[in-house]
Symmetry: C2
Subunit: 480 residues, 2 copies
């Protein structure tokens, strides 16, 4: 709630005090978790586990994991990391604004050093590589081994697929951009209506505005945000749909296990899959464009852009882009692949901060065929590293793979799915997600969850099939 | 911040989870404060205090007090009290709406029993009476002995003063009520402008809406609220001025001692004095009415009500009222006196809950000459007792006495004060308050603070002189 408030409500001058409040809570949490009493209770429960049912057992495993993650790091390293990340993020904001990588580099070097130290400490306890220990923070189950396999398959497919899509789209009718302006009150009304369609319960949640959209709060009080521009409505709208997907997951977590570790979301991969199912799979589809077209006309007034076909072209437009957050389904994994490789090299010590801009630009050229004109549009575009988040980026793409895989299974299980989306009826899809994903919390691993719902572990097949069908329909017979 | 969010932003369905969050934090706080480590550290500091300066000494006294207050109660009583108060407050809401005292009585009896138990436990540690132990929670320094003296003087004065004022006001021009409606956006604009006049720093604070106005947040991030009605603007406006007075105190607390006990506000008596100086002493005055008149005309359009004299009559209107929160400066202490007597009798065991409605109505008749038509307008009108707040009411009136006393001293020290208010310039007044009150935090007792600023301990003389001058000007030569 303090994070939500900071991003939505807090006056600027409250920042320093808020950083202190958050770090105080973090230290108290760390101390409680690492106390001897906690260690004794966990051992006692593990020694006397013969009467635990499967949920209780899974709960105990999550507790031990939280304890292990916390107690792997000495308190002074936790504090040093938190402070370094706070300072580095502040420096990043101004350095990016001035396109001054040299100003960021020393801070980022310090933060990387602490991050490597923490990764090694975790790795020693977990018996894995330092980078795997970082991955584990965001999703237990992700590993370099599985990532290398999945990213390898994507790298074989995407760089040649991308120019085909761009070429194909040139043969299609040109996109018509609606003239606008799009009054913010009208955008908000459309967003609220779609959230209701998605089953969002406004007695247990809110929609607000922040600089970067996010989903926060708790399962009983979900707080999502978006940002509006009067000249462009798609980004704000898609952010609402994306974040509502995240919030629906949180709200569907098992009530019986509320506030228990096993009752939490499975990890960032499954979490991202839930947002991408709603935004990418369902809402950028032709079926949903049919539902949305008259709503946009009613909200913003007549415009030749309001046809289902044109909306679909706007929602599915692909180009080789520079900026991850503006990327499309086809290029997004390449943006992530670049970051995955670079951050692995930084953690292993193979890439020094001073060499990051060059390595970034080389990678962009190789993967996407574009070269950032500035570091601000290059290796400084994301806050993640400057905020100490190493090992987070891969969850975006693994989430996209999981989304395609879940969605394909839902399509198979629900023959009426496309028809229902064209009427704005999300109940069949949401019901399937509740039953197959949300209600299980952390009861199963991500792979088990996928196997139970889709009969396969996480792979690239469904994602590639989805991209082919959507973006090269002439060869693949459909354009959902 | 969670309290602020609950009152301003939280969706209804978040209430149960929020109650759990707040009580979890409360229990953690209680455990940290009562730990053996804390007791040892306090003793160590007290034994080795020869190098402490006066601020540090005062800080240590506040720490010991917080420790003593917390450790006087066993954890299970803290939890039982918190739960009983939560339930009783919920019951109160519906019982008051249905005017059903019988539905409230059993819950209130249970809560009173726990409150008496806690009061006795505190009293045993503090060496005072149970009711004094309750008073001490809200303002260390308040005692039955001093309250009996002050309320005795008020009871000698007010019941005969009140009819004189009512009689006098009948001889004055009738009040003209502005026609309205008063658009909420316009009310908010006026409020924001006045907050700026008062020096409120919007980079360190916000104005929002809640059912009951309050001042919350922190000194670096002040959150005040009001509520608006389209048909009446005075209550919402005065609430903003009142809460801005509270917030100015918080924001003026000594920065060097931020987050230390001695850097906190002195207690509820001094706190209330700061809000009443702004609302009652300064802003319901004739001088301020001069400043406000053209602003209201600009905000709400022409109306014969917009003259300084009429505004002053609206702001200073006195009648024998039933409801404390709508009371005026003259009747308010009588409302408080009634509650003070009744809660003392409840805590001592002399008044049973079942006899409360009768005792209330008798007291209202005796003190104000009115009889509540219902218990909802009588002993169920305030949330305090149902929320477990016994010993809080007296701080309202002691705050009003302190406000009059501080203000008289400020008037004497600042010959330009009235002139500056008529121009909406609060800098002289606010500067005096910063210097004489805000910057001292808890360095001095309330009485010391008053003595230093006004050369006298807390008394009724300044308050009575203020009432006479404002409400019976023909006999007293002025009507500020």
């Amino acid at each position: 709630m303090l994070d939500w408030d900071q991003a939505t409500m807090m006056p600027e001058g409250g920042a320093a005090a808020r950083a202190g409040q958050l770090s105080t809570l973090e230290v108290i949490r760390h101390e409680m978790l690492c106390s001897q009493e906690m260690a004794d209770l966990l051992s006692l429960a593990e020694d006397d586990n013969q009467h635990l049912d499967e949920w209780q057992t899974a709960n105990l495993v999550r507790m031990r994991r939280a304890w292990r993650n916390a107690s792997a790091l000495p308190a002074d390293l936790v504090e040093a990391l938190s402070k370094s990340a706070s300072h580095c993020e502040v420096t990043w904001r101004s350095a990016r604004a001035r396109n001054d990588f040299a100003a960021l580099a020393p801070e980022l070097e310090g933060l990387l050093r602490l991050t490597r130290e923490a990764a090694s400490a975790r790795a020693a306890v977990m018996g894995c590589s330092p980078y795997d220990a970082l991955l584990d923070q965001f999703d237990s189950g992700a590993s370099t081994e599985s990532l290398d396999g999945l990213f390898g398959e994507l790298e074989e497919f995407l760089p040649s697929f991308l120019p085909q899509v761009i070429e194909y789209q040139k043969s299609q009718p040109a996109r018509i951009h609606p003239a606008g302006p799009f009054p913010i009150a009208a955008q908000r009304q459309v967003a609220l209506g779609l959230m209701e369609d998605l089953g969002f319960d406004f007695s247990h949640g809110r929609l607000d505005v922040s600089h970067h959209p996010f989903s926060g709060g708790t399962p009983d009080d979900a707080r999502i945000t978006t940002r509006y521009s009067e000249s462009e409505f798609i980004q704000g709208l898609m952010a609402v749909l994306h974040e509502t997907g995240h919030a629906s997951y949180e709200c569907g977590l098992p009530r019986t296990w509320r506030n228990q570790p096993v009752g939490r979301a499975r990890g960032m991969i499954i979490h991202e899959s839930q947002s991408l199912i709603i935004e990418m799979q369902a809402c950028r589809s032709r079926d949903f464009a049919h539902y949305l077209t008259p709503k946009l006309a009613a909200a913003f007034g007549a415009d030749p852009a309001w046809t289902p076909g044109n909306l679909q072209r706007l929602f599915q437009h692909v180009e080789a882009d520079l900026i991850r957050v503006h990327a499309n389904e086809v290029t997004y994994p390449l943006h992530v692949l670049l970051r995955y490789r670079l951050e692995r090299a930084m953690i292993s010590g193979d890439l020094a901060i001073k060499d990051l801009p060059g390595a970034w630009n080389d990678g962009m050229d190789k993967l996407l065929g574009v070269t950032p004109p500035t570091d601000a549009d290059g290796c400084m575009q994301d806050v993640h590293w400057a905020a100490g988040l190493f090992g987070y980026f891969p969850t975006y793409t693994l989430g996209a793979l999981a989304a395609a895989q879940f969605y394909a299974a839902a399509m198979q299980a629900l023959p009426e799915l496309r028809q229902s989306l064209s009427k704005g009826d999300f109940r069949p899809l949401m019901g399937w997600l509740r039953e197959n994903v949300h209600q299980w919390g952390c009861r199963f691993s991500g792979d088990e969850l996928l196997r139970r719902a889709t009969n396969a572990p996480l792979g690239t097949a469904a994602f590639k099939a989805h991209l082919k069908a959507r973006y090269l329909p002439d060869q693949n017979g459909m354009n959902p």
